[in-house]
Amino acid sequence: MPPAAASSIIRAGAGTARCVAQPSQVPVVASFSTTASRPKFTKARRLFRAWERADGRVFRRHAGEKPSYLPSRRREDDTDKPFPLNPYFKSARVLDERAREVVWEKIMRDGETIKAVSAEFGIDIRRVAAIVRLKEVEKDWIAKNKPLAKPYAKAVLSMLPTHRINPNQSNEPFEAINELHVHPYTMQQIFWPTSESRHFTREDAAEAFHPTLLSADKRVPHPELIQMEREVEQGRPLWDASERFKQAVMESERRAAEKQVAKTIHEEKKTTRVNTERFEFRFKQFNSENVGLKGRSRSVVGWRYGTPHDDRSKGHQIKIPTSVP
């Protein structure tokens, strides 16, 4: 486009000429722009400057351990609302450094189970496991003299409300630990006539939904806690019940570990390892005749024929790892 290019050159030339002619004015910052930047502050910016010098002076430097959020005009409790114009946004509490260290010590040093620590402090089992894993990584880095981003962690923690754990006394729970995943079998409405005299329990309700569905009491993350509460109800002293709870939890964790080991052994039994100079070849035996009725079962090994592979379509790309190897 020769004419357009030529005209833009001419215009740019005119702009620079004006700048040279009036040097006292605000200079053009971007040489390609002919519009001079605004010589004065906008009203909002001016007011912000004024506020910053008067009321906002306390926010210049952060002091103390708690985050200092801007107060809203409604004079409410603003300790967990970072945005004064949005009272519905509340920042969730996070565990502070000391609390995470306590969790790690309990599990790795004192040998307590993840479930017991989760029940004691009211932290989700998955979070407890994640804390232990990340703490292990941190300690590994410290041992290897790798630099840690401590100032960053400190800055982020100072901007969020934190939850403290006192190891020697009872603490308020950090979060709800007995939340249940809504099973799709329970999403249906069923008309299930029963006699009024019948004692219809959670087990019966689960069976009404599906014969293989476990009851809610068994699906909660800590079914041993229910047993403990039952025993306390029946008159067993609390210390005894909690001791029995710890043993039950230890037993369940041991069973889970055994299951894991058995699975690994089974996998290893099916695998033949052949070492060559460069690589190890791992041959895994499988039954290729398990292909389902139409030969297109989902469990068939190998790339499938005649079915679209949706790994690149929107929404099917798994970017976040869902399991820990």
Partner: protein, 116 residues
């Protein structure tokens, strides 16, 4: 028609992945085979949490079906032959490593020296 045990390339650009298939020799590479008996991931991978630098390749194979197809006369390609020989299903093919010696030529073929 000859039945072959061969690889069918799936996967994406720069990330190959193979099905080990039993198919008629004259059918197209990725056409529907008689049977899929395994997979072969040619990209060497490291174990998680292992920084020794040792890599491995993952192969899934139904050795029983492979033996059956070999028994009824299916012919593995060289690559599949190499994999099957690791499991002891085929006799391994070795490269000829003997030094190459040119054949002894007959006297008539030697360059003639013209005497003056």
């Amino acid at each position: 028609m000859v039945v072959k045990i061969r690889l069918a390339r799936f996967g994406r650009k720069n990330s190959p992945f193979y099905n080990v298939v039993v198919a008629h020799a004259r059918t197209a590479r990725n056409s529907k085979p008689l049977e899929v008996i395994g997979t072969y991931d040619p990209i060497p991978r490291a174990d998680p949490y292992d920084d020794s630098g040792r890599l491995h390749k993952d192969i899934k194979l139904d050795a029983i079906r492979a033996r059956y197809w070999i028994g009824v006369g299916a012919q593995p390609t060289d690559t599949v032959w190499r994999l099957l020989s690791m499991l002891g299903i085929m006799e391994p093919k070795y490269r000829n490593t003997e030094p190459r010696i040119p054949p002894v030529l007959p006297r008539e073929a030697l360059p003639q020296q013209n005497s003056p």
